[in-house]
């Protein structure tokens, strides 16, 4: 019925399909470039590489290679050590810092870095026109907040002054124990004035891009990679380990794991990038490293709505949570249960013990509040966000629903919303209970406790307590570290035991994966901070 030679001829004619294929293959390839010494998988695409714009940790991990502040974090414990400044003096009242820059500091393009550049970078971050979301990190400066909010417009009144090209005088509102740590935070990095003034918001596209850190930006292709090359003019270039580093933006855990497993990436440094189903198996491998970081997962109450305006109700709910079940059944990454908000191990601080699991006391408190056995307690709603943290938010919500029903006899509904919607509902207090988390920006109790002061933008519980505010203020005005510790302890006791506008559930663990026989220079520290300059590939022995 069919003539085969004819069919064959027709199919031979289909060769025209090969032409576009060949064109596409050659056209679609990126130009060949030398391989990187080190390839790191860094979670999703950086929002920006501008130190005054970024808020996400993944972004900071790239930027931290490109720019530096007066101090920098050392790689082992993430302590602040001299960076662009080689030394400083602190006045006895702890409010005036005099920084001395290293002589002969230069940008990667060769121009000198001076105290004027530091002044410009800080004033730029505070300038309302820059609209820096993290400008609050500079509110510790005298008049910093006033300048940022437009109360004053004269930048000379802000507490940062250039004394000479190598000397900078910084005046603070209060003795700020963690100020040297803040100097190593991206918002306070030193950025190139000329380039920014010339190119405006697109200054990061300038090539060569002057960099003050250990690496310079070679290439930045969205959703493809950020390529960094060693800055030979960096003051400590002799100790910069890798020459070329590629940072890949990968958001899918399976893809990240596959790339690592097939040798196309050396390091994956985000816990979200571990396939959740394989967590139990992978954690047993020697190339998976788990450690506790300064981060807490907790529940927020909206204390402005009944029945959660009654502290006894909040305490009852807190006491009815068996946190072991959550870390053993759901998160499974070596997380520690949390009875307090500030993680243990935070520098210069000893957190108080908070409420544990006590079903009897929980039932008793609920009865005292007028709901014996949960009778008459209104149905309430738990709000959680859809994507952040994978399915953990949902699984934890389900677990809580069950525990509160079994222990207290109360009924909770679950409401899942998109992440961008969640943040809005949370800040407008349009919820009853919601999931929350917080990572410390620097290693100090203030980064956790400061946000629950009355009216703080990150309070988001509606809880106001003047005694708490006074304790936090006293702590931050204190030069004596032991007294400061004590003030913070009292404040936290009030927060987690008496008022309980939040229920801490567990402390986050960080997990990164890399083969210690192939990669060196990463230490597991509480800030989960790993300076690029120290990381190196171990050369295979011939």
């Amino acid at each position: 019925m069919l003539d085969f030679t004819r069919i064959r001829r027709i199919f031979r004619r289909m060769r025209f399909l090969f032409l576009p294929v060949a064109v596409l293959l050659t056209f679609g390839c990126s130009p060949p470039e030398p391989p990187a010494d080190l390839t790191i998988i860094n979670n999703i695409e950086p929002e920006s590489l501008d130190p005054a714009v970024i808020v996400a940790q993944a972004d900071m991990r790239v930027v931290q290679g490109m720019f530096e502040g007066l101090t920098r974090l050392e790689p082992v414990d993430a302590q602040a050590v001299p960076g662009l400044a080689q030394s400083w003096e602190i006045s006895p009242d702890g409010k005036v810092y005099t920084f001395h820059l290293r002589p002969n500091l230069v940008w990667s393009t060769g121009e000198p870095i001076t105290a004027q550049d530091v002044w410009y970078s800080w004033i730029r971050a505070l300038d309302p026109k820059t609209a820096c979301r993290y400008a609050g990190q500079l509110y510790y400066l005298k008049n910093g907040e006033e300048f940022n909010t437009g109360v004053i417009t004269n930048s000379d009144m802000v507490g940062v002054h250039v004394l000479d090209p190598l000397t900078l005088r910084v005046e603070l509102k209060a003795p700020t124990a963690f100020f040297l740590d803040l100097c190593a935070f991206p918002t306070l990095y030193v950025v190139p004035r000329q380039t920014i003034e010339k190119y405006g918001d697109r200054w990061l596209m300038a090539r060569p891009l002057p960099s003050s850190g250990a690496y310079e930006l070679v290439d930045w292709r969205l959703n493809d990679k950020v390529r960094l090359r060693k800055n030979p003019r960096y003051w400590d270039a002799a100790n910069t380990q890798a020459n070329i580093i590629d940072m890949l933006p990968v958001g899918a855990a399976t893809t990240a794991f596959n790339l690592y497993q097939s040798g196309q990436a050396d390091i994956v440094w985000d816990k979200e990038l571990i396939p959740n189903e394989l967590l139990d198996v992978l954690l047993k491998r020697p190339d998976f490293h788990a450690y506790t970081v300064l981060g807490t997962y907790f529940i927020r109450f909206n204390v402005t709505r009944k029945p959660f305006d009654d502290p006894r109700v909040r305490q009852a709910l807190a006491l009815a949570v068996d946190k072991d079940r959550i870390v053993n059944k759901i998160t499974r990454g070596g997380e520690l249960t949390a009875s307090h908000l500030v993680p243990s191990g935070t520098r210069n601080y000893h957190p108080p013990e908070g409420p544990g699991y006590n079903p009897d006391r929980a039932r008793q408190l609920l009865a005292e509040a007028g709901y014996p056995g949960g009778k008459g307690f209104p149905r309430f709603e738990f709000l959680f966000s859809g994507s952040a943290g994978g399915n953990n938010n949902q699984n934890i919500a389900i677990e809580l629903q069950e525990m509160w029903r079994d222990v207290l006899g109360v009924q909770m509904d679950l409401r899942r919303v998109e992440t961008q919607v969640f943040w809005g509902l949370q800040s407008r207090l349009e919820f009853q209970l919601c999931n929350s988390s917080w990572y410390g920006d620097y290693n100090d109790a203030n980064t956790f406790l400061g946000m629950f002061q009355s009216g703080d933008g990150n309070n988001e519980t509606g809880w106001k307590n003047s005694q708490y505010d006074d304790l936090i203020a006293a702590a931050n005005n204190e030069v004596d570290l032991a007294k400061r510790d004590h003030d913070f302890q009292q404040a936290e006791t009030l927060l987690i035991r008496d008022a309980a506008p939040i229920i801490p559930l567990y402390f986050y663990s960080g997990i990164n994966y890399f083969d210690t026989n192939k990669v060196a220079g990463i230490w597991q520290n509480a800030l989960d901070d790993h300076p690029l300059r120290s990381i190196r590939k171990i050369k295979a022995q011939p």
């Binding site: 004819r6 679609g28 979301r133 697109r202 969205l222 399976t254 893809t255 097939s262 961008q420 988001e460």
Partner: protein, 304 residues
Amino acid sequence: MYFVRRILFAVPLLLVISALAFVLVHLAPGGPFDGERKPASPEIERNLQAKYHLDEPIWKQYCRYLRDLAHGDFGVSLKYRNHNVNDIIRQGLPVSVTLGGLAFCFAMAVGLPAGFLTAAWRGRWVDYVGSFLAVLAVCLPSFVVAPVLLLVFSLKLHWFPIGLWSSPWHMILPPVALGLYFSGKVTRILREGMLNAAQSEFVTAARAKGMGETALLFKHAFRLALLPVVSYAGPMLADLLTGSFIIESIFQIPGIGVFLVNSSLNRDYTLVVGLSLLYAILIIGLNLVVDFAYKLLDPRVKYE
């Protein structure tokens, strides 16, 4: 003349699309600058809104957008604030076009012969096997096909790299994973079309004139049966060329498919509208091409 009119008509259509996309994405709850960390002062939030003119009434924002658009400027991405939408399209579109183009070639190279053969051997084992495979290809979603291909060809056999997009070697599995569904679709549409054409009057007439079965199939039935394939291929190509969220994330390919989804999740207003317009332009353009192809394939089609 007809085609000139069609192109002119596309302009108001694009305006309507941009206005709809603009209004809808602004109506969605949540904004581009909402995040876990609230700024230390509400003033910062206001400064941000002012910097990107989000504090203005929406019609004013839209007029501003149109004015920039007239200069070929799609605006600054609100999520990736160092890039403008033009940059994002310039970087990602060539990659997505390559991926989509290859997937299209794959779908055609597999679908057309398969469709032809299953129709020519209707009711025989070739038909049964071919049709079964075609149905399977249509039923398996790409998020199943891609991991299976990876498992077999990358992890077990080590023939192809596991992801990324840097050499021709990287460009084999993703187009196959992306094009498989369409190859099944094309097979079924062509088979259907050939069987219908075989029953049409002019084929019977040709057969009565003593034309051979093979010649009949190629000369008449195939040409006619291509029409439904062509009308399906236009929108399909637009779909393929704008990338695929699933394939691009599984294989870590730097195309624009990922942005197509994430921009709306991020409430990246400018990027959403820019990509919607790009998609609309592709659809309109390719539909035009389809109509033109009809004219070439079917002498009965005439445009006023």
